[in-house]
């Protein structure tokens, strides 16, 4: 045990009980052009999607719900390219999906955490909060990206499936996407 530290095992085996793993998909050496989570259980209040992605083309990942590939998604947020300023962006009604501009590399992981709120509520459009990007060890503005966004899927249907599509090429080996459910 380090003098000023904490051995990282003191609480292991005591899960909270309201955060459950639904499914995980990991790409093998063949890669994956898209990833689907189908038949999502309706037993949770919220969903969380956690992604660690690689791609040799430097591309984007797009998330869509229930097979809806129309321009039915809105995304607004703030992005940092690593320079001295940030920019506000708005993807209103122009993306068939969101998590655009996540620059992926085969060396540097593109990381993303999306919280999908009230995914079963059939009275409201769905809201998604996301933090995501890729850091490629660049000191000056470049292809590294840091995003924080709020997004809406303009549909009141309960979300029963999620598709994550690689815009160009495939999510390469060691890419991992996990879907979790959070009980209310």
């Amino acid at each position: 045990m380090p003098i000023l530290g904490t051995v990282a095992s003191q609480f292991s085996g005591k899960p909270f009980g309201s955060f459950e793993s639904i499914a995980t998909v990991a790409a093998d050496s063949n890669g994956l052009s898209d990833i689907n989570f189908n038949t999502i259980p309706a037993t949770y209040a919220h969903l969380q999607l956690r992604m660690n992605l690689f791609n040799s083309s430097g591309t984007n990942a797009f998330v869509t719900f229930n097979g809806d590939t129309t321009t039915n998604y809105w995304q607004h947020g703030i992005e940092s390219y690593g320079g001295g300023s940030t920019s506000v962006y708005s993807g209103g009604n122009q993306y068939a999906g969101f998590v655009g501009n996540l620059v992926l590399s085969n060396t540097y992981p593109g990381v993303s955490i999306l919280d999908i709120f009230d995914y079963q509520n059939t009275s409201i459009r769905k809201v998604i909060k996301g933090s995501y990007g890729t850091n490629m060890n660049l000191a000056s503005p470049g292809y590294s990206r840091n995003f924080y966004s709020d997004a809406t899927w303009g549909n009141t249907s309960a979300i029963t499936s999620i598709n994550i599509q690689c815009q160009t090429g495939v999510f390469s080996q060691y890419s991992t996407i996990s879907l979790y459910g959070i009980k209310g």
């Binding site: 045990m1 380090p2 000023l4 530290g5 904490t6 051995v7 990282a8 095992s9 609480f11 292991s12 005591k14 899960p15 909270f16 009980g17 309201s18 955060f19 459950e20 793993s21 639904i22 499914a23 995980t24 259980p41 956690r50 992604m51 660690n52 690689f54 703030i78 940092s80 390219y81 690593g82 320079g83 001295g84 300023s85 940030t86 540097y108 992981p109 990381v111 955490i113 933090s131 995501y132 990007g133 890729t134 850091n135 490629m136 060890n137 660049l138 000191a139 000056s140 503005p141 470049g142 590294s144 990206r145 840091n146 924080y148 080996q173 060691y174 991992t176 996990s178 979790y180 459910g181």
Partner: protein, 163 residues
Amino acid sequence: MPVTYEPIARSALTGNQTDVTFSSISSIYTDLVLILNTGSSTGAAAALMQFNGDTGNNYSFIQMWGPNSSTAYSESHATASYIDMQAVGTTVLHSNICNIMSYSQTSKYKGLITRAYDANNNRWYQSLGTWRSTAAINQIRIYLNTGQFIAGSTFSLYGIKGA
């Protein structure tokens, strides 16, 4: 469905302390989540993080932050010797959450996202970082760029395991 988001370890300081280290971190999880609520003995400071005792220039991060005005800013730090999680002030009012993705993977670099809130200056921060190592993370050291963490500061580490 399997329950996850397990508490791995927690440290609550009873006196001022230079750093906190979580060691012997199990590799059984998919991701790690580190939550800090901290204050600094010297006022405004930044919480820094290193993995596996690596003090070399193997870290990089992009920060963006929003002060209490209409403009947000960003900085890019390459070839750094730590990940900067920012936002530690004079009292234990400053929170950070750091998600370390695929931390036990041994074929790729490690990516992470941190978010912080600075209650003294009403600022939020988000950093996106990379540790350029393929080693599994089994140790995390958290320290300040100046001063010490004050009594009452808490550090909690959780593991999330995908099915």
